[in-house]
C-alpha cells in the first residue's frame, strides 16, 4: 500500500498490526496466570494440606489491611461472620469459577483479535469488526451488571451457609477476573481510544465523500 496515496489506510493497518501483537501477548500472559490459579485452586481444594490452608487463612486475615495489635490471624478470623475452614473445604469450587472466567476472557480476546485482524487488512468499517465491537460491548456490559448485582446480593447473604461459601469463593475469583479484564482500566482505555480513533477516521472519510463530485 502506497503511504502517500493511502495515509489513513496505512495508519489503520499499522495500528491493526500493533493491536494484533499486543493482544496475543496479553492473551498468553493472562491465560498462563489463570491456568496457574486454576491449578492452585484444584491443588488446594483437593489436597487441602494444613500448611497450605493456613497460608490461605493468613492471606485472608490480612486482606484489606486488617491488622489488629495483639491479635493472631485466627483471632481476627473469629471476628468475621463466615467460616474460613468451611470455605477452604469448598475451595475446589473456585476451579470452576476460574475456568468460566478463563473461557470468557479467551472469548473477549478472540473478539479483540478479530478486530485487529480486520484492521490489519485495512477494514475498519466492515461487518466483522463492527459485530465484534458490538459483542465486546455486550460482554463488558453483562460482566459489569452481574458484578454489581452480585455485590448487592452479597448484602443479604448469610442466611444459608452454603450460599455464603459459594458467594465468597465466587467474589474472590470474579474479583481476580475483573482485575485481569477491566480492573486495571487498560481495556476501557483501549476501547475509548479505539472508538475515538474510529470516529476520527469516519469523519475524515465522510469529509472525503463530501468532497467527491
Amino acid at each position: 500500500m502506497n503511504e502517500s496515496l493511502q495515509p489513513h489506510q496505512s495508519r489503520i493497518q499499522k495500528v491493526g498490526r500493533l493491536l494484533w501483537g499486543f493482544s496475543w501477548f496479553w492473551l498468553v500472559l493472562n491465560v498462563m496466570a489463570l491456568l496457574i490459579v486454576m491449578a492452585t485452586t484444584l491443588g488446594l481444594g483437593l489436597a487441602g494440606e494444613a500448611g497450605e490452608k493456613e497460608n490461605v487463612i493468613s492471606m485472608f486475615a490480612g486482606m484489606g489491611g486488617i491488622t489488629i495489635d495483639g491479635m493472631t490471624p485466627e483471632a481476627i478470623r473469629s471476628l468475621v461472620a463466615w467460616d474460613y475452614d468451611s470455605y477452604l473445604d469448598h475451595y475446589w469450587i473456585s476451579f470452576f469459577y476460574v475456568a468460566a472466567a478463563l473461557v470468557i476472557f479467551v472469548v473477549t480476546m478472540a473478539l479483540i483479535l478479530r478486530i485487529a485482524a480486520a484492521w490489519k487488512r485495512g477494514d475498519v468499517f466492515g461487518e466483522k469488526p463492527i459485530r465484534s465491537f458490538r459483542l465486546l460491548g455486550w460482554i463488558y456490559l453483562i460482566h459489569g451488571i452481574v458484578g454489581q448485582v452480585w455485590g448487592m446480593i452479597g448484602q443479604f447473604v448469610g442466611a444459608s451457609h452454603t450460599a455464603e461459601v459459594l458467594y465468597f469463593s465466587f467474589i474472590r475469583d470474579v474479583s481476580l477476573f475483573t482485575f485481569s479484564m477491566s480492573g486495571t482500566g487498560i481495556e476501557w482505555g483501549f476501547l475509548a481510544l479505539a472508538l475515538s480513533w474510529i470516529l476520527e477516521h469516519a469523519r475524515l472519510l465522510r469529509e472525503e465523500q463530501q468532497l467527491t463530485v
Binding site: 469529509e207 472525503e208 468532497l211 467527491t212 463530485v213
Partner: protein, 68 residues
Amino acid sequence: MPIIVNLDVMLAKRKVKLNDLAEAVGITPQNLSVLKTGKAKAIRFSTLEAICQHLDCQPGDILEFRNE
C-alpha cells in the same frame, strides 16, 4: 495536490457558464465549484463523462498531473 483541475480554462474556451454546466451535468453549482477550485478529493467517472460530453473534450483537458 499534483492533480490540477483545468475546468475553468475549458469553461472559458467553450464559453460555458458554471451554472449552465452544473445544470447540464446534473450536479449542484456548489459541487461543481468545489471541483473548479481544486478542493475536490475525488471525481466520479459519471461526472467526468458528463462534463466531457457537454464540453466536447477529453478528461485530460480537465485534469492535469504536475509533478511538484
